[in-house]
Amino acid sequence: NEVMAQEEYRVAYIARAQGDSFAAWLANSIIEESNKYENIDLQVFDGQGSDAKQNSLIENAIVNEFDLIIIQPNNGEAQRPYAEKVVEAGIDLITTNARIDGIEGGSSVDADPYMQAAVVAEMALEQVPENANVVVLNGPPGNFHASERRKAWEAEFFAKRPDVTIVGEQIANWNKDEAMRYMEDWVQANDHIDAIISMNDNMAAGALEVVKGDPEYNDILSYGVDGTAEAVLLIKEGRMTATTLQSAYALAERILWVSDLLVTDKVMEIHTNIGNPVVTSENVEQYIEMHEKAGNL
């Protein structure tokens, strides 16, 4: 059958949680990117932020004999045995955002969460004033990205700046509204807060929302990760200090590129990282453009 010369490969993308805005963005980007590959037929599954659910989905995908399974793990170690089963079943595997290390025969594409936070932490090292009061907003407990980013801040910033006091640290579960609630209380409890250190942009934006228009907090510093449309705008307005772009587009592009290589048997195993560009007021315009092009703004 000459017309169908090219074989169609079935690819399963098992997302961490479609309700989480970054994960949704990544899934959307991957779908879009896959449309450029005629030999790839991509299906997206939603892990709903639950390890148990995600593991079930991986099992299902194996049973259904996909040619390639891409896992965006909710929690790397929890998915490890299931990822291993993928390889055992002779199915190609990519782990991404974040990779599960050390699976023989499995490939990976990642932006390193530790590095994402480390690059902004390094900036903060210089910017945060002497004896500053800072507040810290964390992602969900047990979440790989949440804990890696927090580790980076610990090692790259807090360990080097013993003068800085953490006057409040809470878990806001990546959510803007939860972060607002904490920030409102911290503002009451403290004379001044010099910086908001947040493990993602949503929470940083929430905290900033609270001090919006308050002249006392005109100079408050704030750091996030993700480079969401909102964060980029805040940086442009001069209200947010910096964030690391975790570009879903870049990830998606790379993932599909690797996918194609794997399914067509051009390579057997590959590990690759995308960069961690920092967004600040100096380079913000290009990221605004990026988001506008994507229809996010």
Partner: protein, 325 residues
Amino acid sequence: MKDLKLGDKFSRIKQKYGIFLVLILLFVVSSLINSNFLSVRNLTNISRQISITTILAFGETILIISGLLDLSNGSVLALAGLLSVSVFKMTGSLILAFIVAIVVAVFCNIINGIMVTKFETPPFIATLAMMAMARGAALLYTNGQNIYRIGDYTVFGQGSIGFVPTPIIFFILIGIVTWYILKHTRLGRSLYAIGGNEEAAVASGINVNRKKMLAYIVNGVFVGIAGVIFMSRVNAGLPNGAVGFEFEALTSSIIGGTSFSGGVGTAGGTVIGAFIVGFLNNIMNLVGVNSYVQQIIRGGIIALAVIYDTRTKKMRTKSQLGNVE
């Protein structure tokens, strides 16, 4: 009853206002623990923080009194708020946006009502189904993405009239409406009767299905308003916002004395329940209690508050009995 001694008097107060005394105690202790607690700013802050879930709790109270329930309010809030934001971005009309939120939330609640009355689905299942459907619809509408740059839409949640922030104004207004409905209208009294004994209510000539439907519609109006305030407060359209709010609303309502067996509950009690949770969260944050420890303490204190309330209520029944002669 003639020679009421001071001790007696106090014990009567204690019995009548059990959970209210818990609130007062919490208030006093918090003031002592942290000097920032008692500032006008902080108290305003707390009121604003609890306003959205308490508005939901008012609806929940009305429903639970009637033997109903709403698990979908968080999701419907998100859907209604999101569509409202998006209509605002398209038209620029605040009024239209406000109306859209209410229409959407009422629509969802009419479906809840139809499932419960016409199809006799248990409210738990009916509203659980709506919870999934509304959330799915909200996420589908924006494909999981947030809507930003909502401009003047923020007046609903971030503005203030005089010194009073708008969310608090809505909170107070809806509280009064709830109190009025429950205490002073036929609808309210019918709902108590329905929740207290549905068959008896039917036998008294109350049109039970219509009243239940009305209860859901009122709830819908409240949820719609909460949706507007929520999106306005977070300055975005979040399809995934307000997850778990149904639990918080239920908790305020139940701590405030609303009973799942139906027929019991008040607007005032719900406010007290909401403030107990609000004070507790606030003081723990002011003091800087570790997140995990906070959860443990919160659980413990909520249980203690309700235990205390139940105990004093029991005492009340006993001492009233003594007056039968």
